[in-house]
């Protein structure tokens, strides 16, 4: 199966659940879904097209919105399902029911972006240390890291 055939199948199977199917380079397909549809889209892709392998979930801070990208792959191509959720009310449905391995990446999203993943089996903190203050989400663009001033102990010995 080449990219064109997969795009055709995806469009046929999912209809208007997915929009903006693009294929900017070989074996890279991007598509867009509404946040509430992501889980069902992934289920269809997994069952019908063999996209069993979820490489990772990426979160991107777009300013007003968060973009969440699910990177899937099968033996022919790499398919990326993106979705956008508003930053003011970041809620996302869990896909752990479809792909159990997604939990790590979803918990990472919760920590790093403050996205609330609904129905996540295990919502504990994942990336950040236990004593990290609430409400600080390092990968958001408005979170700036203040580099501490470098202090080198001692002086010249020779």
């Amino acid at each position: 199966m080449n990219d064109a055939q997969i795009i055709e199948r995806v469009a046929a199977l999912l209809g208007e659940k997915v929009t903006d199917i693009t294929n900017p380079s070989v074996r890279r397909i991007y598509t867009k879904a509404e946040p509430q549809n992501v889980s069902s889209v992934l289920a269809v892709l997994k069952d019908s097209l063999g996209f069993t392998y979820l490489a990772t979930i990426t979160g991107v801070d777009l300013g007003e919105n968060f973009e969440v990208i699910y990177h899937l792959a099968n033996e022919y191509t790499n398919l990326n399902v993106r979705t956008q959720i508003p930053k003011a009310d970041p809620h996302l449905g869990s896909v752990c029911g479809v792909i159990p391995g997604a939990i790590l990446y979803e918990r990472e999203l919760q920590d790093m972006f403050g996205i609330v993943v609904d129905n996540i089996p295990d919502p504990r903190r994942l990336v950040l240390p236990d004593d990290w203050p609430e409400g600080q989400y390092p990968l958001r663009k408005d979170w700036k890291f203040q580099r501490p001033e470098e202090k080198i102990p001692g002086g010249k010995t020779s």
């Binding site: 001692g154 002086g155 010995t157 020779s158």
Partner: protein, 142 residues
């Protein structure tokens, strides 16, 4: 399945010279092109600051000592250096003002001992040498 499959090999090595080297007394010579510690040829530097900009570890610092006399000071913080030699690749002069040596025993008792500095007068670019941008370097200023 064979019992003691390793035995011949082991016995053969019992009387062979060990493969390891008695390090502080015997040293291996690093190959040509080994990336050691970067240093400056101050007479060649044109203060283009390409190395300062491209250094991924922020280990190179160029300060202005005297603007009128075109006197500059370069500090190489070897305590931060990751020995990638990108500064050598980025250096646009021919021959290169930034260079790298082959030393690998560079530990010191204090991080301050690792900082090297050069105070120098900016070299004048000869018109002939200017267009010789090295082809392999993607890092030449665009």
């Amino acid at each position: 399945m064979k019992i003691a499959a390793f035995l011949p090999e082991l016995l053969r090595h019992l009387f062979k010279k060990p493969a390891t080297v008695d390090y502080p007394f015997q040293k291996l010579v690093p190959p040509k092109g080994f990336r050691g510690t970067p240093f400056l040829h101050p007479e060649l530097c044109i203060v283009c600051r390409a190395c300062e900009r491209d250094c991924p570890a922020e280990a190179i610092e160029i300060l202005t000592v005297d603007e009128a006399e075109k006197k500059f000071k370069m500090i190489i913080h070897n305590d931060r250096c990751i020995h990638c030699a990108q500064c050598v690749d980025s250096c646009p002069t021919t021959p290169k003002a930034m260079d790298i040596d082959q030393l690998f025993e560079i530990s010191a008792f204090s991080r301050w001992d690792l900082k090297h500095e050069w105070v120098f007068v900016k070299a004048v670019v000869k018109p002939k040498a200017a267009p010789a941008a090295p082809p392999a370097s993607s890092a030449t200023p665009s």
